[in-house]
Each structure stands twice: as structure tokens, then as C-alpha cells.
Point group: C2
Chain length 234, copies 2
């Protein structure tokens, strides 16, 4: 049998099943028919049903256990998927013209809080880069970044006046592990100056720590413009 004219695709099955959940036909905790029965109902193979259900489970709508079967998720522990674009892309997506400006870049001994945060041995040296990302002439993001020299020796020769440290790192170092946090911080005097907000103002902030095979590579603090919100649709 070919799939030519009238096959049920795994996408159709996903849609139908989702519909039954949303309509209330299959309420939370309901045990649904097993894959074989569904395959008969949709007149396709179990493989196709399996893919549909597997994806729905991954998206948090279903819970599946061998032998126990598949049931509708009761506490839909929903997963939000945020796209974290490069600043340039984010600015351009909003119709702005991206502009980058280096503020400062210098090698120094890692301050204590940073050494503690990244589990560095005391006295390790880092490159501290500060830079601005603009949308047109409007401040969009202030980036405060430290790069561990031991992990990325080439960084001492890097020139951050034209290319941002993030883009440089992405091209240079493959990384294995990332920790990303979002928080609300308050604008200090420096930040207020750069971002054109009043001191003390709440600022949406992202922090990103990157490792390469267990070695800490970089910590970046990114401060967004006033009123910034990170939005996603599920």
C-alpha cells in the first residue's frame, strides 16, 4: 500500500487526539486505547500512531508507561520553549537596524565572586568585555561578559571592536553545556547611563554560563531595555 492519496499522517493523528483531549472526550487521567487499536481506528500502522503519541507525550499532553498504557496528562507540566535568538536577529526581527558598540575589553584577575561562581582556582585570569547592542540608536541590550583565558587562550588576541563576544565565541569554541537564568535586577548608575533608564529601575536580565567539557568558558550578564518582555506562545 502506498501513502499516495488518502493516508493518515502522524500529524493528523496528533490533531485528532489533541482535539479529543481539548473537547473533554478524553479527560485528564483517562487511559486511552493502545497503539494497536488506534492503528486500526486510523487505518495506519502502529509505527505512525507511535510517532504521534510519542510527540504528544514529549509535548506534555500524554504520559506513557510500558504495559501501563498511555493516559492524558493530569498536571500538564507544560514546557515553555523560548527561542533565544542572537541579539542581531532579535533586533532585525523587530524591524530595527542592529548596531554594536564595544565599551571596554581588558584582561584581569577574576574577581572573587566570579571565581566562586565559575569554580575557578583563585587568581585565574579572565577577559572582561562590556558592550552595547542598539536597535537603531535606541539602547537594546548591555552585555557584561567574562571569558576564562585558560579555557580559551585565543581570546587574548581577539578584537572585539567589530564583532561581539558572543558571535566570536560561537564561531570559536564549541560548547557542551549551558546554564541560562532570567531574573529582575535593578539598574545601577553605570547601567542607567548606558541604557538610558533611571537608576534603580527594574531591568530584565539574562545570565548565561557556558562550559566546555566541564571547563567554565564564560559568564555573560545581559541587561535588556526598559519594558522588555520575553514572550512565547505554547
Amino acid at each position: 500500500m502506498t501513502q499516495s492519496t488518502e493516508t493518515t499522517s502522524y500529524k493528523d493523528i496528533k490533531q485528532t487526539v489533541l482535539g479529543r483531549i481539548r473537547s473533554g472526550e478524553w479527560r485528564p487521567d483517562t487511559l486511552m486505547p493502545n497503539e494497536e487499536d488506534l492503528a486500526v481506528e486510523f487505518s495506519c500502522t502502529r509505527t505512525t500512531v507511535n510517532r504521534a503519541l510519542r510527540e504528544l507525550a514529549e509535548e506534555g499532553f500524554l504520559e506513557r508507561r510500558r504495559k501501563a498504557g498511555t493516559r492524558v496528562s493530569s498536571a500538564p507540566q507544560r514546557q515553555a520553549r523560548f527561542t533565544i535568538p542572537l541579539v542581531r536577529d532579535e533586533v532585525e526581527a523587530m524591524g530595527g537596524t542592529y548596531r554594536y558598540a564595544l565599551v571596554s575589553a581588558q584582561a584581569e584577575t577574576a574577581p572573587e565572586w566570579l571565581a566562586a561562581r565559575l569554580a575557578l582556582t583563585p587568581g585565574q585570569r579572565v577577559v572582561h568585555v562590556r558592550c552595547m547592542h542598539y536597535s537603531g540608536n535606541t539602547p537594546f541590550q548591555f552585555e557584561d561578559r567574562w571569558i576564562v583565558i585558560n579555557s580559551v587562550p585565543q581570546v587574548e588576541q581577539a578584537d572585539f571592536s567589530a564583532i561581539g563576544p558572543n558571535e566570536w565565541l560561537v564561531q570559536t569554541v564549541p560548547f557542551t553545556n549551558v546554564e541560562l537564568s532570567f531574573l529582575a535586577s535593578r539598574a545601577d548608575a553605570t547601567l542607567a547611563g548606558f541604557m538610558d533608564v533611571t537608576e534603580g529601575e527594574p531591568v530584565f536580565t539574562a545570565e548565561r554560563i557556558t562550559w566546555l567539557q566541564g571547563q567554565p568558558v564564560t559568564l555573560a550578564k545581559m541587561y535588556f531595555a526598559a519594558g522588555y518582555r520575553m514572550t512565547t506562545r505554547l
Copy 2:
């Protein structure tokens, strides 16, 4: 051939490919071998390779286009996946004892900003619920929520003194669409009182709008305790 003793699983392939990316063997933008060739290399079927690559692409490591082939993502790690647990789960996961307290609940006409935000017809009525979530006796989250009566008529009979509006809604209304935002806001006098922070302090805030088949159901603003950060590892 059976998969009995020494088969290459799609997981093995994922691992190997990831390793090659991380080691720098396959740099960003590199065009990798096509599925058939990889199937030969790993001595498995194309189906298995396909699944491995498909998942890696979904995770953001690869970019695939028909005919053009598969290449290593140049801006990897673009998707962060946050699990959004119920407050109760989040508190308990941190070892705290969850406690809920209703602050106020009343039916009212939707204020203009809300009507505009949810595209309500003027004069529509909503139930406005405010409540606190504690970890032990420490304030954890202040929840400010509006529920559209038209979309959920049962809400007028609901009793939110024992069960939180979120848990009530999850049990009552299947929802089809969610918009989730994170932002930094400043604590006003009311919030400062409930959350035990000083007025003007930055507060990490999540806003969540939910629809049921195009009908707006609820808008929730959730204000987190001082110092809260939402963290994920990729």
C-alpha cells in the same frame, strides 16, 4: 538482521554526532554526510539515522533542508526549554512546605486595560482573584488573576479559599492556547506589603494569558519573591 546483540541505536548516533560537533570535527555550517552514508557508517538503516538527526535538529544542533542536506547549526542552543511547574510543585521541589492563601475574589466589570489586552467586548464581566503562595511562612509568589465569566460561567460558583485559581482552572477548563511572558516590574505598595520587599524593588514577573478555542479565558500576573531566578540547563 535483528537488533539483539550489537545494534547502533539512534541514541548512540546522537551521542556520536554531538561528540563530533563538540570536538570541533564538524564545525558550525559544515555540511554533514547525508542519511544514507551515515546509515552505512553506523551500519544501521536510514530510518534510525533519520530519527537521530531529526531529534538533534529539533534540539537546535542541526539544520536540515531537503535536497540541501544537514548542516551544523551556526547559532546553536537557540531553544531553551523551561518546565513551568505548578507553584506547589516548585515550592515542594525546593524542600519547602506549600501554603496557599486567598486574598480577595470578586466579580467585576473588566477594567479597560484588561478588556483591551484580552480583546473583550466592553463591559464584560470577570472574576478578579488575588492570592498568595508561600513556602513555609516565606512569601513565594503573589498571583493577580482575572477570569472571564463568559468563557467559564462556573467560575461564579467556584470557591477559591481552599484551592488556587490555577489548580481550579486546570481541572475545569481544557485550554487550547497559552501566551507566556517574563518581565521585570517594580513592586508597588500593595505588592511590597504582601511579598515583604521594599516599594520600588525589582520583581521578576510572569504573565500568562490562556484561550479556549479563541475565547480568552484568563490573564494571570505572577510576582515572584525578591532574588528569584528562573534557571534552565541546556
